[in-house]
């Protein structure tokens, strides 16, 4: 029997993607597309600009310049490959074992190699597209600064492609082995914890060793030592090092085909080994993946603790909150992200602690106040990102259960209320902790402490409301994976709206804070006058409007949902 082509096996996927684009277009989605392209281009330009400035500086440094540029590229590609291994392991679990089209593919007379290649391609595409897009402005900057010429672009693609294939094969193989040991659903739980734990550990390690010190040659005994360190490959057996070598050799105008040869032969060899492993283990792994996670759960603990604590609420609200809390803590893919969050908070505070601020009395005060003030924006951005991950998907995740909620006498207001507070309370605790501790570490005065705490409080209410409101405006009812929801178009619009709010609130507060700084700096008494209060009022009004409006719009939108 003639086997279907790979293109044919892939057909449901690409046809679905095409259809989505068509639907978007018929819904007048060209505005969306323009916005996405605009934001993407801005981001690319920003990355390009940063790299361009750094590389131009490197080029001006005799001897060391090219070495530094190579080292930088090596580090970038190494971090890419580390991220790719982690994301491929998780993506491979979905595409090889949990995807909806597997029943059809496995039951059809399609041979194992085609299934393997189709699924490997799917894994590669899903896990690597972001890294590939990110590489474009970075490599463009290298090409422009080192005059790569018109052949550099195809050469870069030729180099990068096998570098992306290697982690995809490795990730798929790891998943294949794991699924044969544990059931797929348990593996997913396990992987979430391991992956996030590893990512958290990596971030912590990178921060604690303070790489910024390694970048300054003053710390080395002499220049030769420093050059010796730069010349040593970071990881000679990793494809990222070969890719770096290939690119830097090309840019220097030398001809050394070895790195490229290494990349392609390794990728080909790994695909072959991966295919053999797939042939041997896929059938048994796929069978195991059908097993459900059998777990007896006693929910009494939640009823006694959270249930009792919420005893003052009407029963519908109480049970709704209780349900959301249980769902969160029973889903390993959800709660395990708290590990990463905890690490990020530690790194955040570590960075604040590492700032060299307390050098002179007056300068110290000015910079401390400035950092404390700007920290509100940064903390707000961190909170917005957290809300995007945890609050934004809240309405979408109810999509499949709307039959129950809409056919019951539960008011949508109650639903929105519960979702809002389940998201806002932990976010508020985190916000106050982050701002309070930062201000303590910075040793700010009482005025900035009060302004900081009140502002971040107000911002948190608004950020949570924006996340929920935009989540209701741009729901993703078809997506089962909560992690994919924030990366949708709605998520982008939400982040842009939140950044605009942060900018507006900080702008309003700046006038008041500047008056305070000037008074202290000039040794005058700090007077909270009508002028100052009016700016505080503007900031408060902005936060209040950004809280009430999105919730109201979200509620109206939910009333029009059709299922």
């Amino acid at each position: 029997m003639t086997q279907p082509s790979l293109w044919r096996v892939f057909e449901p996927k690409w046809r679905t993607a095409l259809q989505r684009i068509r639907e978007e277009r018929s819904r007048g989605g060209s505005g969306k597309l323009l916005l996405l392209v605009g934001v993407g281009t801005l981001f690319w330009l920003a990355v390009f600009r940063v790299l361009y400035v750094i590389l131009r500086y490197f080029r001006g440094v005799e001897e060391l310049g090219p070495l530094l540029a190579g080292k930088l590229l090596g580090l970038v590609l190494l971090s890419f490959i580390s991220i790719l291994v982690l994301s491929n392991v998780i993506t491979a679990l979905s595409s090889f074992f949990l995807a909806k089209d597997l029943d059809l593919l496995v039951s059809a007379p399609v041979d194992w190699l085609r299934i393997y290649l189709a699924k490997l391609g799917e894994t590669l595409l899903h896990s690597s597209w972001m890294v590939a897009l990110m590489a474009v402005p970075i490599l463009t900057a290298y090409g422009v600064i080192y005059h790569g010429g018109p052949l550099f672009a195809p050469f870069a693609v030729l180099t990068l492609f096998p570098m992306l294939v290697v982690p995809a094969v490795a990730g798929s193989a790891v998943t294949l082995v794991l699924v044969n040991v544990f059931p797929a659903r348990r593996t997913r739980d396990l992987l979430s914890i391991v992956a996030l734990g590893a990512a958290g550990g990596l971030i912590l390690l990178l921060r604690v060793i303070r790489p910024e010190r390694l970048a300054s040659p003053e710390g080395f005994r002499n220049l030769l030592d420093f050059i010796a360190v730069l010349r040593t490959p970071t990881s000679p057996f990793l494809p990222s090092e070969w890719a770096t070598k290939a690119i830097m050799t090309f840019l220097r105008g030398d001809a050394d085909p070895l790195p490229l040869l290494l990349l392609w032969t390794t990728a080909a060899a790994l695909v072959t080994i991966g295919a053999m492993l797939h042939r041997a283990l896929f059938a048994s792994g796929f069978t195991k993946a059908q097993e459900g996670a059998e777990r007896f759960v006693r929910g009494e603990w939640w009823r006694w603790t959270v249930g009792t604590l919420l005893g003052f609420l009407p029963v519908a609200k109480r049970e709704f909150v209780l349900k959301d809390v249980k769902l969160f803590f029973r889903d390993t893919t959800q709660w395990s992200q708290l590990i990463l969050l905890a690490v990020l908070v530690v790194v955040y505070l570590f960075n604040i602690k590492a700032l060299p601020l307390h050098r002179g009395e007056q300068v110290g005060f000015f910079y401390v106040t400035l950092v404390s003030f700007l920290n509100l924006g940064l903390a707000g951005f961190v909170l917005a990102a957290i809300a995007a991950r945890f609050i934004f998907p809240a309405v979408s995740l109810e999509g499949r259960h709307m039959w129950l909620l809409r056919s019951s006498p539960l008011e949508l207001k109650t639903l929105l209320w519960s979702k809002y507070w389940v998201g806002t309370v932990p976010l508020l605790v985190l916000a106050l902790l982050l701002t309070g501790l930062t201000n303590v570490l910075l040793q700010v005065r009482a005025f900035m402490m009060v302004v900081g705490m009140l502002t971040i409080g107000g911002l948190t209410f608004a950020i949570a409301a924006l996340a929920l409101g935009f989540g209701a405006l741009y729901p993703q009812f078809e997506t089962e994976n909560a992690a994919q929801i924030p990366t949708s178009f709605g998520g982008l619009v939400y982040m842009m709206a939140t950044i605009a709010l942060l900018g507006a609130v900080l702008r309003a507060l700046w006038t008041a804070v500047y008056a305070y700084v000037r008074a202290v700096y000039e040794g005058q008494p700090v007077v909270v006058d009508a002028w100052m209060i009016s700016w505080f009022a503007v900031a408060a009004a902005l936060c209040a409007a950004a809280t009430v409006l999105p919730l109201w719009v979200g509620l109206r939108r939910m009333e029009r949902f059709e299922f």
Partner: protein, 259 residues
Amino acid sequence: MIRLENLTKHYGSFVAVDDVSLEVSRGVLYGFLGPNGAGKTTTLRMIAGILRPTDGRVSLGGDDVHANPIAAKQRLGFIPDRPFVYDKLTGAEFLRFVAALYGQEGDAVDRRIAELLEVFELASWKDELVEAYSHGMRQKLIISSALIHRPQYIVVDEPMVGLDPKAARLLKDIFRQFVSRGGTVLMSTHTLEVAEAMCDRVAIIQHGKIVAEGTVDDLRRQHRAGDASLEELFLKLTGGAQVRELAEVLGHGGGDGAP
């Protein structure tokens, strides 16, 4: 009484339900029949308040489902065709959650949960997460959830799908008892034998319009069908030509193994 007045639903230019009017009296088990895509599920979802009609109104016991939803929905139990339940709740927790949506809690609810789980043979699974339940078990859980608050009206979309013969029989008995105590059931089904055996009245919908309504005997009389079965009547009313075409297709495409 469940009353539909000139109920209409458009999806863009497509008319899914077209000016449907219907009355289902107290104590009646009413069958809602029709081919795939005829508009049954859309109609039931509008009755349950999940979809908003483009035009017309639905009332349950005199309360408009869309103008006065809380009062109307208090009396309703809805059983959808696809059993989507929160995977990370246990069966007992899910039922307690549903009871809370109807404002019910306390020992009486706990006793009711235990009763329903016992009746549907889910008692030994009550502390297990729903993600481990089979399709049929989920369906039983959803049926239990529709009964937890003692509704007056049950609207049910394809109730027998996924149920084992014992559970299907149990469900038929429950519906009959529910109706005999004054409750009302509006049920869509493709299982015409079930409809013929159970339903007091039926309506057949096609292309969004009701093409026949009454008792099975009424339909036979109206369409001069003699003692034809409901299946034959259904095929006559909804275009049974496709069935003959299907036989021809199977005959041509059966391959070597076909008789």
